[in-house]
Symmetry: C2
Subunit: 265 residues, 2 copies
DNA sequence: ATTGACCCTCCCCTTACAGGAAGCATTATA
DNA sequence: TATAATGCTTCCTGTAAGGGGAGGGTCAAT
């Protein structure tokens, strides 16, 4: 039997950590002296501690580790968790790598004494009179993370009901605030002919800017448009919408072309 | 003037986020109506919001971003912070990559139906009678993170006082628990001759195991040794110590050779 | 005048502990 | 044996960056 201090020294886990693991039920001492609440550990628990440390080094959460330990006999579980973690780490690495790439571009800009927000001045705003369309649309509360998925239903309908799209798909944003988990969006596809399921989409005069790049830059475009509206004494007349000019499935993230329209008056 | 909802929609920051940024002083609304506490933002603050989002995407903490914004005129600061962050990201990537490599090895083990803790059984324990040395030593409370640095002083003394080391440097662990920030360690170098500054180091009979690999595996060795002591009815006779057989500065992390000794009775 | 959308503050929750206080228990030393 | 030094306990607070929700006030349009 080892006291918590001895156990700490051998396992290289602090007292705080051991007490915390006890509390969350990850590693409970083999024996607790009822009269003074002293914790005592088995020597064999040292190996459990090693295992925990090992899994922790792979960035599993303590909750995940608990599950793995509880099903230690089930090697399939561990195997699949490990493979999931591998996938996870790989994604992290690509994420960090692309971040690093962007960062380096900005550093170069800074070294050339340019403003890193300078790209904002490159955004060009046009005033256009948008065509009137008959659109097939669906309005939903959606999670912005799986925005794309929601188009599938529409695409499918068009395919199976032999409808003919006449322009690129678009999305109309009705939300009054930014709520990524529960975003009020109407996705739509303009059709060549009106049916009883279509409705008329007639935004009229619009301020428009084109985004070439990642969706992450959408706030920049929106900001630009709003600043422009304010400077030119226009008001937003109805919900902003976006037209997707490129296929997000086959286009690399940074080459997407999205037109953002603000109906104005 | 924009209400918080409008500002949220354009900037793609949630209401929660905006209120939080107000609270921590990162982005305070330009105007607050005193009678109802409504927050109102300037259009120009949208660009600040964009900047914040940008820096956040580079994984700066909000605290860092606050500092950067406060010194926005000082382009040097931003530049240096960006370069530090670049370094940081690079390290993260190497860290994740090496983790991924280890993970893949374990996955392969699992696929071959081996236990991932199997390496524990490979650790060989010998009983040896340790030589007696005259050691030049220093006992300190240290942070385990800069363990190596503490040797420099000793090395320097040996060099400038023309002393002759006779064996590899070692460290004796007096701590009674694991406290990474404040670890009670005695670092020592055995010398050929006794002086008035040396003391006798005579651990006697020891159980010994050799670690080839990263320092992270030290708990495994300690665990192994403790299990062995318990199984063979020995007791720890004095503080455990480690002998560093390889130069940590020139040896890649995974090739270090460290001998761990437990004086026994 | 009412209603529904919008805004406010306040409190609790998240991870994986660290830091510290206050108070027993055990062990070492004088 | 008395005292001091450790060792152990529980409990409280704090971390980063907000999310979730309660309870209640306010605004704009009908």
């Amino acid at each position: 039997m080892l006291t918590i201090g001895e156990f700490s020294k051998i396992s290289h886990l602090t007292l705080k950590t051991l007490r915390y693991y006890d509390e969350i039920g990850l590693l409970k001492p083999a024996f607790i002296d009822a009269k003074n609440n002293y914790r005592y550990y088995n020597i064999s628990q040292l190996e459990t501690a090693l295992l925990i440390a090992r899994l922790k080094s792979y960035l599993f959460s303590l909750e995940e580790i608990k599950v793995i330990l509880a099903n230690w006999e089930n090697t399939e579980l561990l195997n699949s968790k490990m493979k999931a973690k591998q996938e996870n780490l790989t994604q992290q690495i690509t994420f960090y790598s692309s971040l690093l790439k962007k960062l380096k571009i900005d550093i170069q800009l800074l070294d050339e004494e340019e403003n890193i927000m300078g790209y904002l001045d490159q955004i060009e705003i046009k005033v256009v009179d948008h065509l009137t369309y008959h659109i097939l649309s669906q309005r939903k509360q959606m999670n912005t993370a799986d925005f794309l998925l929601h188009f599938n239903e529409l695409f499918s309908k068009i395919l199976f009901e032999n409808l003919s799209p006449i322009a690129k798909p678009l999305a109309i944003f009705h939300s009054s605030e930014y709520e990524p988990e529960n975003y009020d969006v109407e996705i739509a596809i303009p059709l060549a002919m009106a049916t009883n399921k279509t409705k008329v989409f007639n935004p009229g005069l619009c301020a428009m800017a084109t985004l070439i790049g990642s969706y992450d830059d959408l706030p920049s475009i929106h900001t630009k448009l709003h600043v422009w509206l304010a400077e030119n004494n226009y008001k937003l007349n109805s919900a902003p919408f976006e037209v997707y000019q490129t296929d997000p499935y086959s286009t690399p993230e940074e080459n997407n072309i999205i037109e953002v329209y603000f109906p104005i008056k």
